[in-house]
């Protein structure tokens, strides 16, 4: 099987001044990967003829597929279309079906007068096949040269996605005999990248050559991704499953989930699965834990509520931490987080509660309580688990690491409580 390679070219000055983060490339890369196309490189360039010519020349050297987004709009700085016309040696011509579609959009949908600029959007190179853009005015264009296909799409994300799903992902498998690419990903927490690498190195060294391993660290968690390339889907899947199971056994102690899911999704899914709820009392994270859970659709079925008891006033008034505790052992203490967790569990009538209190920095440290000191308590009707952490980072990362560890403690408790159900 020949490996099929793709190059993604995103065009637009906004990408080069960093005004826009290039999410199109990530989406296209994901979709190509699913159908067994390996992305060789992603390039972002300016709306300039020379840059576009150079990028295309380079892409043609090692690509079977070239996907381009951007520069097809109605404004004068959008020069991709005439440039492609010149590159592929054609001339611009009016494409009647597109003109009808654009006219329809203006008359029936936008209900705005159509100006010359919009008419121009129906002009296409006579050397391309037009791919209809149902959801916008700029059509996509397919060019062929030797055995390489080059497709130019608008840069507007939802238009690009529509064209990928309705044209590109159908066309490619018809044109190329692609191999199968499979991914298996797991998430670990509580172990650093290098220690993880040490732990699994014997297994990693014995990996079959058609299976690759990638480490993806984030906020004190590490995702491990296996990527397999083959011809026979069943055989490859079996082979990967075997390796994946070995890996899971080795990292068992640190395994969060054997899917490509974030920790908050894992926790939220567990709660949904058992029809249980959580309430959260946050001091040092200031709402970060609650917002990570509530960022997920349908959060209301698992999240009862939270109290961001940032001041001692709030800790005492809303969650009844006695002032003598706040004035003796203090807000950042085992005692405080245990009372916070226990009381928010009660007053939200939830199955679980979480409480965190710590010193995130850069200010707030005392002789006995350094920056990065964090207490986390997780509680249910039956259990109360409290842990001390000492993070050594800046404020932003201390908040992230506190969030991750709190959610991981909650995850373990949910599993523990439901293990016999």
């Amino acid at each position: 099987m020949n490996k099929i390679f793709a190059t993604i070219i995103t065009i637009g000055d906004e990408l080069l001044i960093g005004q826009v983060i290039d999410t199109n490339s990530a989406f296209i890369a994901q979709e190509l990967n699913k159908i067994g196309i390996s992305v060789k490189q992603r390039v972002s360039i300016a709306d300039e003829e020379e840059a576009i010519f150079t990028a295309l020349d380079n892409a043609f050297i090692h690509s079977n597929i070239i996907l381009i987004t951007g520069g097809l709009g109605p404004t004068s700085d959008d020069i991709t279309k005439p440039t492609l016309c010149k590159y592929f040696g054609g001339k611009m011509t009016m494409h009647q079906p597109t003109l009808q579609h654009v006219t329809y959009l203006f008359e029936q949908v936008f209900k705005r007068p159509m100006i010359e600029r919009n008419v121009q959007q129906a002009m296409v190179p006579d050397v391309c096949t037009v791919l209809k853009n149902e959801v916008g005015t700029a059509p996509a264009m397919l060019f062929k040269k030797n055995n390489t296909i080059c497709i130019a799409m608008p840069g507007v994300p939802f238009e690009m996605k529509w064209i990928m799903q309705h044209h590109v992902l159908d066309i490619i498998p018809q044109q190329f005999k692609t191999g199968i690419i499979l991914h298996k990903t797991l998430l670990t927490a509580g172990i650093g990248e290098s220690f993880l690498a040490e732990l699994i190195q014997d297994w990693e060294n014995k990996l079959p050559t058609d299976i690759k391993l990638a480490y993806l660290p984030k906020f004190g968690m590490v995702r491990l991704r296996l990527t397999g390339l083959g011809l026979n889907k069943e055989l490859l899947a079996e082979k990967m499953q075997t390796e994946f199971e070995k890996l899971k056994t080795i990292v068992q102690e640190f395994l969060v989930i054997d899917e490509d899911l974030s920790l908050e999704v894992v926790v939220s899914n567990l709660l949904k699965q058992y029809h249980q709820t959580v309430a959260i009392a946050e001091s040092c994270t200031g709402g970060a834990i609650a917002s990570s859970i509530t960022a997920l659709p349908g959060a209301s079925s698992v999240f009862k509520g939270g109290i961001v008891c940032y001041s001692n006033y709030a800790k005492n008034k809303l969650l009844h931490v006695p002032n003598e505790i706040l004035n003796t052992v203090g807000a950042v203490s085992k005692e405080t987080v245990e009372i916070l967790a226990t009381n928010i569990l009660k007053n939200h009538n939830s199955h679980y509660a979480l409480a965190v209190s710590g010193i995130m920095g850069p200010t707030g440290a005392t002789e006995t309580k350094p920056i990065g000191l964090v207490w986390i308590a997780v509680v249910s009707e039956k259990n109360l688990i409290t842990k001390q952490f000492n993070f050594k980072y800046d404020r932003e990362r201390n908040i992230q690491h506190t969030t991750v560890n709190a959610l991981n403690m909650l995850r373990k408790l949910i599993i523990e409580e439901n293990k016999n159900s």
Copy 2:
């Protein structure tokens, strides 16, 4: 003054399978732009020698500066370092200062045993200048070839940012005569990019050629940045100030701040300036507003606390929204947010309070309450201001837009209340 061109190369398979969105390139491009460097292209490639060699060969053709991120970790899929060593014709050697730094990190900071892999991080090509990575174990490396400099940085965003700010952005102006670059930035809220463009187009069209305008839209706010390029600092500054004042007058109605500050910093600074505090009741934003404020150092002096009253249960139990209101006009209503704001103001004894309730989607819409419907109330002892919004985005952006508009309403109230002080 010659134009200086840069190429950004991001290395890592995760970028090519679309598992990770490349935010490093956008940050680097923004920072280079600020010092007058034009980014010629951004390239993302795999952790493969051939790909790295090809990308470097192409970059050297038209770049004065090549910035690389990724592939410097301790694991075996990180091959950037040996590959660069080979490309620039050096041999790997132990860099003692880095070894001492890594040892220090493990002994004093991580308090974990250091293993061989970590020692390896101190090995560098003998043809590079090491740039210390204060915040991580992988050092950055500077290579020179002809008149081009090539700097390789770790891919972990906060490490890359630290190295950019502490090394790269100092080195570049020393190496290249970029001329004087000045920036003036202001932040607007409550007006879309295209309307803003419409509003300022006459002024924009008359801008001197050596002053460029950039629109930087984010979460429903638009940052306008003037970048001036010249040789005489005083003259340029004067010229820019004149244009900046004109711009401020035109956008006055939507002006948040005439500095490059985020909205939460502006709000937090206002509260500090007047020694006042805020409490926040969040339903639909689920803690996002509180966490945006508490992400800032010293938040405890302005933020008393928050309640993430996500369930009706919490709205009623903790903030005493009567059940007949929740059962009639409902949780997403003027009445509810006004009671939430008024009661959290009282029970936190703060100067101001904010309350939001809305439908973020994708679920939760009703016949009368579509996705994107949001009520926001902001209150002080003297004033209660309530507004209805109808956002039209996905869950993530609806939460962001709610956060921005809530903070902006708070900002206006703080200014109003203190205008005679």
